[in-house]
Symmetry: C2
Subunit: 421 residues, 2 copies
Amino acid sequence: VIDHPSPDNLPSAARVNGDRLWSRLMDMAEIGATQAGGSNRQALSDDDQAGRELFLEWATSAGCHATTDKVGNLFVTRPGRSNDDPPVVLGSHLDTQPTGGRFDGVYGVLGALEVVESLNDRNIETPVPLQIAVWTNEEGSRFPVSMMGSAVWAGSLDLAEVLCLRDTEGISVGTELDRLGWVGEAPFGHPMAAYIELHIEQGPILEASSDPIGVVTGVQGLRWYTISFAGSPAHAGPTPMDVRQDPARALASALQSIYGVAADHGPWARATPAQFRSFPVSPNTVPAEISFSLDLRHPDSQTLDSMDRAVTAVVSEAARTHQCGSAITVDNYSAPVDFDAGLVSMIEAAANGCGFPNQRIVSGAGHDACYVATKAPTAMIFVPCENGLSHNEAESISALDAQRGADVLLGTALKVFDELA
Amino acid sequence: VIDHPSPDNLPSAARVNGDRLWSRLMDMAEIGATQAGGSNRQALSDDDQAGRELFLEWATSAGCHATTDKVGNLFVTRPGRSNDDPPVVLGSHLDTQPTGGRFDGVYGVLGALEVVESLNDRNIETPVPLQIAVWTNEEGSRFPVSMMGSAVWAGSLDLAEVLCLRDTEGISVGTELDRLGWVGEAPFGHPMAAYIELHIEQGPILEASSDPIGVVTGVQGLRWYTISFAGSPAHAGPTPMDVRQDPARALASALQSIYGVAADHGPWARATPAQFRSFPVSPNTVPAEISFSLDLRHPDSQTLDSMDRAVTAVVSEAARTHQCGSAITVDNYSAPVDFDAGLVSMIEAAANGCGFPNQRIVSGAGHDACYVATKAPTAMIFVPCENGLSHNEAESISALDAQRGADVLLGTALKVFDELA
């Protein structure tokens, strides 16, 4: 090992092999390829298995050894100088949406593999191991819990419950894990020196500002609600407008106010009303009830709480103004995640070191990094995707941006190793 | 016949027997009675048949003779001095909604019968016959065309098409008409000197103003639309508010404007948005599309056209403002009906003659009178119903109002006969 250069002797802006990375991204996309150019490798399917096998073939050739835990999370390790110390972990997921793209998740795993290859190419020995995590069922499309593997690993979800989750055909997670031979002995929540996840942005911000790198400072918190207004059903003809208790009036007023609440809480606030329904389904009756879902997001917990209070107030006010009843139920709450400040700074420094324009950004979508962040210093790197499109077969990134993101991942990993040396 | 008083010798405010009327309303309600106190005598069912048989028993005892036409409309005639001249016709329907009330339709038929009985009680011979029309399938709940019998009678619907209409069990109108023996030889569109329909208001206006009598001047025209806004589906988290094409924003804005259009077109304008739907049904995706139905009504044809233009404009404007697409389809159009001015004045005079506070009113709901009005001088009399409730088992009117409405029907009929004498 004596002739291996140590990371601190490397140029601060070492680069990965972008062609190899792109070629592997394209090869992986052939597994479960869809006619429209995307990928369909749903969690714990034969294609998900085939994707892992291809990845393992590459990783094993690169000198890594693999383990899995009881929920099938796959950890691939490139040994370091001291293998008793916690590894630096890079990763994401290989499963896709049924009509998924070629990059969501996959890019983070193959970007991590490219870091391994780049260290190999330079004969770099790291002070502690470098590990690639491939989390099970991040998408939650076949088995309806997203970020399933990382949540179980972090102790946020119960293994026994998760094993009983079934797909629409009645097949359980446990059955599929056994069938595919994914159950291993790796412990949940094992120590990590750091966890860095490279991912496509899945939004339009980087593309709009022409920054190839997003330094992700955290993940928005979210609150999901079901909001309903109750009116008094009445005949659309005889009933004068001014005596109606029309929930569509309350709806119109509440929607306007909800968008106002989002505007009042700054550029990071998000409000998404959806799932509109009304009853009875009759064209000539003032509806008895109208309901819709509301997805509120903000990266700051107190601001999200303030949005929650404001929305509750405007819904009541809209109902009162139009003599309707109202109800709000909270269907889901996920607290904002703040990534590790030191790691965020290192990502920023790595991007600057490569000379890549970058901006700090908050993830609007959830990622495995959210759960890992509860156990280890964590941060994420984003690259732009075309038109912000994701969960879509047309999902697209440029080969140059793919390379740049992996360059920053490599640079950041080298900085972390530097600190650990 | 020589000792019969002629109508012009009668007191101008002859009264019906309110107890008999109420008792018959309650007896009829027992046929197809529902647990919640309403009636279920759907068109061309055994209970509809039983209702007609009870009515015919009373009408025959009162000296009337019955005929039907090829769509089962029942005409019961009390002969007059000259039976070659067109009759004065009173009537409505005996079929109900599945969870119908005791008065919708029934009141107009039994009120007409009460006029016959009152003429009999006073030995009055009329110059022309008095006829009671019982129209087939006014409700359109079992067989999905409302005002079916009167529409065929008036030539607005084709008999052959109507005979092929099927209920949800696949049974056709033609099959049921044959089974029940309702097919007769009476001609469609036979001449009528006048047609007067007594009905519950099915709205809250008379109750609110404490007027026991509504002098119905016409029926609102209606336009039914399906309106949709198309946006661009996007992830609820990463997508900034200001780059979204969110159809819920267009919806909120359009709804506000639509209520504004109704307000701008005066107290008789009605706008009822209903049947809200959105796609995809996902809480964390900006909807690709939101649609709703809109029911617009106004008694004046030009005003209804103006509302149509205004709604078309505000929908386009809402879509343009929020960078969405929009589509409007017209699903139904029914022109406003103006009742016969002379007959309307006679109803008003009859109500005033009885000393009953009254107001001119426009029907928001459709009635058999709409179709009859295309063939004969027509008008309607309304009485208040509790809370404006109808098409509901809790539908309720007071016995006093029931009597007053029938008094006005009698008084109006006497005035018409007076003119014909």
